[in-house]
Symmetry: C2
Subunit: 394 residues, 2 copies
Amino acid sequence: MSVTAPAGFAAAGVTAGLKKSGGLDLAIVSNLGPLANAATVFTSNRCKANPIIWSQQVMRDGRVSAIVLNSGGANCYTGTIGFQTTHATAEAVADQLQVSAGDVLVCSTGLIGEQLDLGKLTAGVLDAGLALRDTAASSSADAGLAAAQAIMTTDTRPKQATRVSPAGWTIGGMAKGAGMLAPGLATMLVVITTDAVLTSAQLDAALREATRVTFDRLDSDGCMSTNDTVSLLASGASGVDADPAEFAAALTELCRDLTLQLQGDAEGASHDVAITVRNSASETEAVTVARAVSRSNLFKAAIYGNDPNWGRVLAAVGTIPEADAAFDPYGIDVAINGIQVCTAGEPDQPRELVDLAPRAVSVVIDLHAGTAGATIWTNDLTHDYVEENSAYSS
Amino acid sequence: MSVTAPAGFAAAGVTAGLKKSGGLDLAIVSNLGPLANAATVFTSNRCKANPIIWSQQVMRDGRVSAIVLNSGGANCYTGTIGFQTTHATAEAVADQLQVSAGDVLVCSTGLIGEQLDLGKLTAGVLDAGLALRDTAASSSADAGLAAAQAIMTTDTRPKQATRVSPAGWTIGGMAKGAGMLAPGLATMLVVITTDAVLTSAQLDAALREATRVTFDRLDSDGCMSTNDTVSLLASGASGVDADPAEFAAALTELCRDLTLQLQGDAEGASHDVAITVRNSASETEAVTVARAVSRSNLFKAAIYGNDPNWGRVLAAVGTIPEADAAFDPYGIDVAINGIQVCTAGEPDQPRELVDLAPRAVSVVIDLHAGTAGATIWTNDLTHDYVEENSAYSS
């Protein structure tokens, strides 16, 4: 169950013929109301795709009736023609759903720099509109699944999650993204729906905090996308005024669920690595240090080789200037999969005790500089990653 | 010809048995005078190896009589025992050469976190001392070559360079480093010798400027070593007062020569990529932008696949915050191997025109934001890189 789990939402996933490989490539999620509140977080990359530029405009009044997502092309760096394609797509959706084009978010994912086929897009929107007019079918779990499949690119499986509150509201979500995962989001498209009653401002606060500690801490290969979008739509159809704090907690949990699914399907990865920094002077410093390790190709290649190479962990930690993280370089402990291989900057337990065969890897770095901490999720650097990203143009 | 090209220097390269693979693994370069002036630039990594800590102390008076370098172990994160090993090595060299241990630089390269065998080190120093007592042989080109070979780890060939001034002085140099190449130097060991007459302060100024625009701009895989050292030793044996500006220019040229040799032998690389940013608001901004591209795994994997993926170039450029580089994201041109594939943020020449078969790759990014510029050298991300760094513990 996913985006159609909460009341007041319909979804469709169709084949528009945009993806070379064929298969579902266009999705619409429609908010049937009574509310049309929303919050969206966009990529912080300054080189933004056309759909991002459009959607930022849509978000100015915090009102969204529908979101359309296509794979088969990012519509990024496609100039004025590309922007017109985005606009026309929103218009076509608005026409099908009898809503305003200015309330339709657009997301695209795929290759950068190539024009999308507007004819195929429009035909796909027509097909999706038809499916959405079957109210029962389009609010089913199958419809939500079809939408989740239609947004996939290099993903090997759709990612969905649901959280149900005893208070009587539900949150559902779908995500795609399996490469280019980095801070400031990733080449991720995430749509989250809820039937809770909340204002756009409340949705925005909850979404930013949830994103900050989940998607923003997934750093598979250090690259940041041009197209990231995480949208949260509220129909209010449950009639239940959600407690903002309870909602925020449930939303964060759902986002963490999706984040770990994305990590588990990262391109070509053979390990899921959680890098936890403990006892830092601040949470920000913990994130800075953990991220530096998560971006070390030498560290990630070592994990791929099942090598508990703590020296490379420290070499990455040491690149952080003093102003950005406080620590004594010779006072750091490093534990890998529960074995403390380095204590206060000296070798401790034998490396041979570390078992890196399981997919899940835990690295814990104790800075002994405070009481804060944070975790960054990443993956190893593998032959498959190189193969997929040298052969696949995206 | 290399470190023995200038007058007043002797060198030796011997087998101490430190490297598991066997082969030359310990080198000494001895400054015979009359001057014992020197300058050294160290890694900016806060997690510094024991030999770095020792050598920083040696450099406090700007006086160096000899430098000893070993491969087979970085002597990093080896605690008090490791520091005692470094100290004892310097003492052994001092004893052989009849100089002060406080004038002996020590460099080590290899695995982090493992103790060096002091017995083998000392025996190796004795052998090198013996070789150095044969004055003619130890000042020959062969001796310089042996030293250059003894400092190799994953290098496939020794790196040497010489520059001869019409004014009558000479500079020679040797380098090692084929992974972990990044800003703030790299896992590089570089020894440069000269028979010019210059003060330590003049040497220091020349070396810092040369390093800033050469070694600091080599960024093969984004990782920064714990052990980098670039040393410049002056014997003054030519008797010629070098013009500081002429010397600085020749030194920079020699460092660039060594830098390109290091790039050409980067671990597992199949392309040498020069990323040039033009028309930036400042040189620093050009470096920041070029470095971001040089660290994009997606960009580097694409180059490996002979894919002129300018979208990934822009996605990397776009990660730079406005405060760190000024540019209009939709006003950037990108040219790859002479073909302008993107103009003002839109597709231009067809990608099919770009020939990425040759090893040398040029990416030129025009920011249209000023008149400054800079180049960062990097390599592609290949299967061999992953293989070497998952199988080889270092």
